[in-house]
Symmetry: C2
């Protein structure tokens, strides 16, 4: 058994954000496995098997990848962004934890990548320049009360907040629930940034404030940034404001 499992971060959308390490793994892999839109971002190579699956089947996909690696194959599981941040790496290790004992002997290598919040922050300026939290609003796997508890502590702790998975077909309104909760803890003028499809042709960046933020402008491709007390806007002529979080706490 000399297989290997790479868990590869493709970065958000644009191939310029791929690391050299990730690139090399994609070239070495015999099998490329992932959610279909991510697999589609990997250039096709002769002799390389491609297994594209639906978004909801992370654990099945993880088991398929582990099974193939255990058979001696070089497998790359691909994630958008960083596989370690709300993505496939956690599902892989969960499958190992619950799965065949021999999977613990596998050579599994997580290859980090630029996550959505980092690309969004780069477009905005430097909103994540000081202490921040990343919270997934998905309640597929955790109760909504857990999300509420974390939002509350993030607000009370004066963290900048990056919200992943702010909307889904099943629950399009949860971002509104999050905004409503945050309004109870934070001033109305708190910065809110909506970064849609960063790095894609239809990229759109919206700067607003908490008392004006509207959930219907948020879709599945949006990363939402909520500012902290140290977050500032720099007004510019004929261009979008820059946003940064001061390193000096108030």
């Amino acid at each position: 058994m000399s297989g290997r499992l790479y868990v590869v971060g493709l970065g958000p959308a644009d191939a310029r954000w791929l690391t050299g390490e990730a690139q090399a793994a994609l070239e070495e892999a015999q099998d490329v496995i992932g959610y279909a839109p991510y697999v589609a971002r990997v250039p096709e190579r002769t002799g390389q098997t491609r297994l594209a699956s639906d978004n909801r089947v992370e654990i099945e996909r993880a088991r398929e990848a582990l099974t193939r690696a255990a058979q001696g194959r070089i497998v790359a599981v691909v994630s958008g962004g960083d596989p370690g941040v709300f993505a496939m790496a956690s599902a892989i290790f969960e499958a190992v934890d619950q799965g065949a004992r021999e999977w613990r002997d596998l050579d599994i290598r997580v290859l980090p990548g630029v996550s959505a919040m980092q690309a969004a922050a780069a477009r905005l300026g430097a909103p994540l320049g000081h202490d921040f939290c990343a919270i997934s609003l998905s309640d597929n796997l955790k109760p909504w009360e857990t999300v509420e508890k974390r939002l509350q502590h993030a607000a009370q702790g004066d963290f900048v907040i990056a919200l992943y998975n702010p909307a889904s077909r099943a629950r399009p309104t949860r971002i509104n629930d999050a905004f409503a909760l945050l309004r109870r803890h934070l001033p109305g003028e708190t910065f809110v940034g909506l970064a849609k499809s960063v790095g894609r042709e239809n990229e759109e960046i919206i700067l607003t404030r908490l008392d004006a933020a509207e959930g219907d402008r948020v879709d599945m491709s949006t990363l939402v940034v909520i500012g902290a007390s140290g977050t500032r806007r720099i007004a510019r002529k004929g261009a979008r404001d820059w946003v940064y979080t001061s390193r000096q706490a108030t």
Copy 2:
């Protein structure tokens, strides 16, 4: 004035973590500016000016870079990791905010990179697989009480916690203060990971628990990860445990 300022993330230590976008900017830049160890990681190019400075002078370095870009030069300010996460991007925009009005017209582009917590997480498994916070323990620019407040809310919110700047020459013991505070809020068996010099020759990964964590094993090159209730260890024969945070909240 056709200058440009790139704020470039070099990733943590290993050049394999550099993105294609960052690589291209380093090749294009006429001036490379940064903390000396980061400048040293950029391959030398004929005709390119290199300005290496001390760690403590972020704002002066930012002003120097902005001044050169305003003179029409192509400037790259380099940061380890992601410039947007506890690094130079925030200092650049702070300097713009406080500086010459014409700096607001500059073409400033932040190029994201893999941050230290992501490389550390990749080595450990997937500890950042669910909701997490990033907190800098540096109290150069904020009062220690602010750090304490954030640690407390991060613990009460059951976030995984990534601690940046856990030690410094000026205050080597602050990581012990942080551990002591966290012990008042979290169970003794809470996972603690110390990831030293990730990607360098002297890389060292230590897995421990909160009731056994010792600050004297932490230095300036260490990224500290504190687990949440959903963080699990996978025991392996003859190899270091894998650590991941389950996507399912407890």
